[in-house]
């Protein structure tokens, strides 16, 4: 494990930034640095999924990664393409302004290689549909903490069907209180109360879509 990966996985902010600055200064390849940062984040994600790390470490490592990226990105060539395993649209549904669960899930998905198009909180069904159409993303993740959010989730699934794209979009709903009965009511393909499990489900969606 490189010094940089070790510093990221052990949440040592100052050390990560010092290493990145130094390596950029001596002319190291920014793409290689980016890969190392992403490798470190993947390990953080794994540690979260196995229960070794908690949300706090995810939040802090995400911040460290963001700062490292702000140093690396200006050095990347304009045509550098960052590989992802898939794209998905996410948001907390209309009428609900809670963001923590969504942010956790989005962070884990990014660490696992997804490109997450995060629409924020209180997102209307039409906004979800518009983003799914524009991006062509094959997965929609909807989050909600309060029970009235279930109605908004259902309205969003209905809007996707009405738009005629339901057959190409897999829908997963998440939040601390969702259960199978809610998934059924909403018409989603999957539900989860656990961010790590959510990543596995989304990877499975991508794997099946690639067949």
């Amino acid at each position: 494990m490189s010094e940089l990966i070790d510093a990221i996985t052990n949440i040592r902010e100052d050390e990560v930034l010092r290493i990145v600055r130094h390596r950029l200064k001596v002319g190291q390849d920014p793409v290689g640095l980016l890969d190392e940062c992403r490798a470190g984040m993947a390990i953080v994600g794994e540690r979260y999924q196995t229960g070794e790390y908690f949300l706090g470490e995810l939040i802090m490592s995400g911040e460290i990664f963001k700062q490292a990226m702000s140093l690396i990105e200006p050095k990347l060539a304009g045509d550098t393409r960052i590989e992802t395993i898939g794209q998905m649209v996410m948001g907390t549904v209309k009428g609900d302004i809670h963001s923590i669960g969504k942010d956790v899930a989005a962070g884990l998905l990014r660490m696992s290689g997804f490109e997450v198009l995060d629409l924020g909180v209180d997102v209307a069904p039409e906004a979800f549909v518009e983003k799914l159409v524009d991006s062509g993303a094959p997965i929609l993740g909807m989050s909600g903490l309060i029970t009235p959010s279930f109605e908004s989730m259902k309205n969003t699934v209905d809007a996707i069907e009405k738009k005629g794209i339901r057959d190409r979009v897999k829908v997963i709903i998440g939040g601390g209180i969702v259960i199978e009965q809610v998934r059924h009511y909403v018409g989603a393909d999957a539900f989860t109360r656990d961010g790590a499990e959510g990543v596995k489900i989304c990877k499975e969606f991508i794997r099946k879509a690639d067949r």
């Binding site: 908690f54 949300l55 706090g56 309060i146 029970t147 009235p148 109605e151 259960i179 009965q181 109360r193």
Partner: protein
Amino acid sequence: MIQETMTSWERVQAAINVEIPDRVPVLPMQTYYFACRYKGLDGYQMVKERERAVRAHLEVYDELGGFDGQVIPGISFVFPRRISGIIAEPLYKVPGVDLPRDSVLQHDEREILLPEDYDLIADLGWNAFAEKYYGKFNPRPASKILQWGERQTARYVDDIKVWNEHGVPVYKGGEVFSPLMFFSMFRTLQQFTFDLYRRPDRVEAAMDALVEDFIQDAIEEVRLTGRTWVMLVLERGGCFYYPLKIFERFEWKYIKKMTEAWVKQGITPLLHLDQDWTLNLPYFQDLPRGCICEFDSCTDMFQAKEILAGKQCIMGDVRASLQTHGTPEEVQEYCAQLIDVVGKGGGFILSSGCFVPVDAKFENVKAMIDCAKTHLPAQ
């Protein structure tokens, strides 16, 4: 129906004392929003049309067949006559004003306090800091803020009176955050987490300085209302959020200090433990006797019973979504399981996991209440 030999108050007190009551007490948490919606009031009316809402609340209580009292009598809060108690005022989002009319009251988390405030609070304590600097987090004149707080307190006391006249006990007299919950809410979860890594000593110094003010605020609130429970609002310090080393340094030592101080004063601390606290449960064995550990369905209740049996009263935890999208049979089955396992040997209060959701099905809430009245713990 189980033959009742205790009053609701006695039954609840037996559970708190980890004794075996005549039947398991049932206290759905905060039935106000649910009752109002059931009677056709929208979110705006729930907040603004007080008389109608109070009437709806009473009617639904009766239609449910009654239960062992109201933990929270309405939607008002209790504030000692100090600016420091009402920092949250600008964060409330009201249906029909800031949110769609048929939404529910929500808390819009924003960065109200800044990193430099840790040092000021460490020097002054919370109350003196808030008196001196309230303009930093609330643009309204102090007199207006205080009037708002007084109105809230007066309404809270009125709500207690209404229920008592209806023959229903009310339990909660005060409510405060733990220091960790407080800073997490008013710095935001993200910024506060950064603080824990970047400036932990300054965070701890501020917590050390404000905890005594919070203890005294709760005692003052209990004095104002004449009710003996203090709800200690906890969510952000458990194992969903942070490892145990953070919990031990920034949450547990303050929980212990606060609960010990209150129990000495004859107050019942209601630890409102939202989110997952399963890994933290062993610590709660060392809480003073006379607390209630209330879970919202994210913590494993059966593990809680294994760890806390004979030591602490456990309360909870019918999941909100089971109340909205389950069937009465499913609710009954889960409640019976809770009564059999968690209720065995006493020390259990059956309740909703956190508040009864606004859109809960009436028959599901009734199924929870009826189960407590009909199902004795399996021996």
